[in-house]
Symmetry: C2
Subunit: 335 residues, 2 copies
């Protein structure tokens, strides 16, 4: 580990040491403007050797940039969503860092965008990633009114907003189609929160798959807004009464409870009941039987969101809506 026996170098120190002007050093580093090849290399060698690092604050002040992006995390997300956000955040961070940006973190409460306002007003960020959106979102309203670049992770109904999301509709459609082709015809759905756009999209996929297969929809085997364990158990009971041959869970926490309930009822998976879930998160990782699921690449989602934001910050045109892929992972639970 090297120690800092000297105080930090400034650009003036470097310039003086080399007998050149500050601007020469600056241009050598940025590569912009006219500069001689030999001078350039002399400078680069020197700063490499002496470990000079430009002060990003000063650089930012001169360019009226911060080299920070704000990331707004929901403060109250559920345990299931946590690994997803975490992984997504890693994707954002990697990308940001690779472009010499840092992540300024803030938490959101649905009703309050004080922190966001602070960040923006204090000139601390060049752009923002919103990690969750609400149906009527004051954060989005605010950011639009300020004209600051921002991207949402997850879909919004707002057409003006640049958004990056997984293709939940087609993912769900494909999963259901595959299950229907396995001669399962009564596929129950359970989980999700109705007001979330993501749930709506998944439902669309469920419906489309049935339409394509020419199978009539049965509203009695679709249970959304069931979160508490007791509600889930009751839903499972109803699904059993309805004699479904497969249960698709909209998240892994719900699925865990479903599996527990089935175990309690001595119904074996997949022999007597097929089961599938979303996310493929670590909660079900070691479950026996292994669980068929839809897998989304949260890291890639973060990466793409961040890259998109960078384009916006640099004033480039971007795709208004980017949909990312998914993977249907067939395992024992639907064999």
């Amino acid at each position: 580990m090297e120690q800092s026996n000297e105080k930090k170098l400034t650009i003036s120190d470097v310039a003086e040491a080399l007998g050149v002007s500050k601007s020469t050093v600056s241009r050598a580093i940025s590569g912009k403007g006219r500069i001689g090849k030999t001078t350039r290399e002399r400078v680069l060698t020197y700063i490499e050797k002496h470990n000079y690092k430009p002060n990003v604050l000063a650089k930012g002040l001169a360019q009226l940039k911060t080299y920070n992006i704000g990331v707004m995390l929901p403060e109250d997300y559920s345990v299931v969503d946590l690994p997803f956000f975490q992984t997504c955040l890693i994707g954002i961070e990697e990308t940001a860092v690779s472009m010499d940006y840092d992540i300024l973190l803030t938490m959101s409460r649905e009703s309050d965008c004080g922190q966001l306002v602070r960040m923006v007003e204090n000139h601390k960020v060049d752009g923002i990633v919103l990690m969750r959106t609400f149906t009527k979102d004051i954060h989005i309203e605010y950011l639009k009114s300020q004209g600051i670049p921002f991207v949402t992770v997850g879909s919004t109904n707002d057409q003006d907003v640049v958004q990056v999301d997984n293709d939940h509709k087609n993912a769900c459609r494909e999963l259901i189609s595959i299950l229907l082709m396995k001669k399962l015809s009564r596929i129950g759905l359970i989980g999700g929160i109705e007001s979330h756009v993501v749930t709506q999209n998944r439902l669309k996929g469920y419906i489309e798959a049935h339409k394509e297969a020419g199978i009539a929809l049965n509203q009695d085997i679709v249970f959304v807004n069931v979160e508490k364990e007791i509600m889930i158990q009751r839903a499972v009971e109803k699904l059993l009464q309805e004699q479904v041959d497969c249960i698709v869970c909209l998240d892994d926490a719900v699925c865990m409870h479903v599996l527990n309930k089935l175990r309690k009822e001595h119904i074996s998976v997949p022999k007597q009941m097929k089961v599938a879930s979303f996310y493929d998160s670590s909660i079900l990782e070691n479950n026996l039987p292994s669980i068929t699921s839809l897998s989304f690449n949260a890291r890639e989602l973060g990466t793409v969101a961040c890259k998109t934001l960078m384009e916006l910050i640099e004033g480039n045109a971007v795709k208004q809506r980017t949909l990312l892929g998914y993977e249907v992972i067939l395992k024992e639970s639907t064999m």
Copy 2:
């Protein structure tokens, strides 16, 4: 929502509009230096009315500060730890914001402190909170070598490091003592990662409690470094062979697997086996029976850590090690 019909005001704009100098405006805001009461109020009224906000970058440059603190999150933490870190982060954020600081986030990998180095070298932070420590921690080494203020959340063996932690040793000691007083004498321990200091501290508490009660230790009923479900199951089998009357889990994910295994073996909790866990996280929230656990206030931990860091940044003396309280929550699983 107000819109920004004008471009952002600078201190010069304000000064000009009021017919005073920039320094007067600056002093009016900071309250430092000599300034007349009436002038001061005139300035404050104006900036309030016109929503002027100082540019933190410029301020930082002049003061050689950034008004950011870096928070280093472990990249690879387990699902169980997530709510804990999340809550802790909220505590840090609240505190930081209340002192006009922002949070710069970065992820750590055990073996690499590249991001940390970047943050420090790029002059992006005034201080750092390390959210997890290892027995031999290169991040700590680096930060010490740089002389930058930092605080660890969680204990370190390193005596030079300012650290804030829950009192895991005494928490565990008290829990075990209570259990021993219930005439349980063979208390198995399961979970935790040996290289984490927190695990070592809990083990110490476990040992102390036994010593105080005059009960001999039995290494055969202590299982650390068991993470995978299959390992946990095997550990539970061994504990059953050893005829323990209680199982204490070092985290809630492990506990969930333990409970599943016991269910599979048709061993009823608490009748045939007492069970206790840590964190009191939402994973076990709805479990029947309800689970006895140690509860730590993660938010407070964040708050205290952040406050301590602020003191360090301002050059004030701080307590070298702060230990926060805990709560033993007795529920059905140990009745």
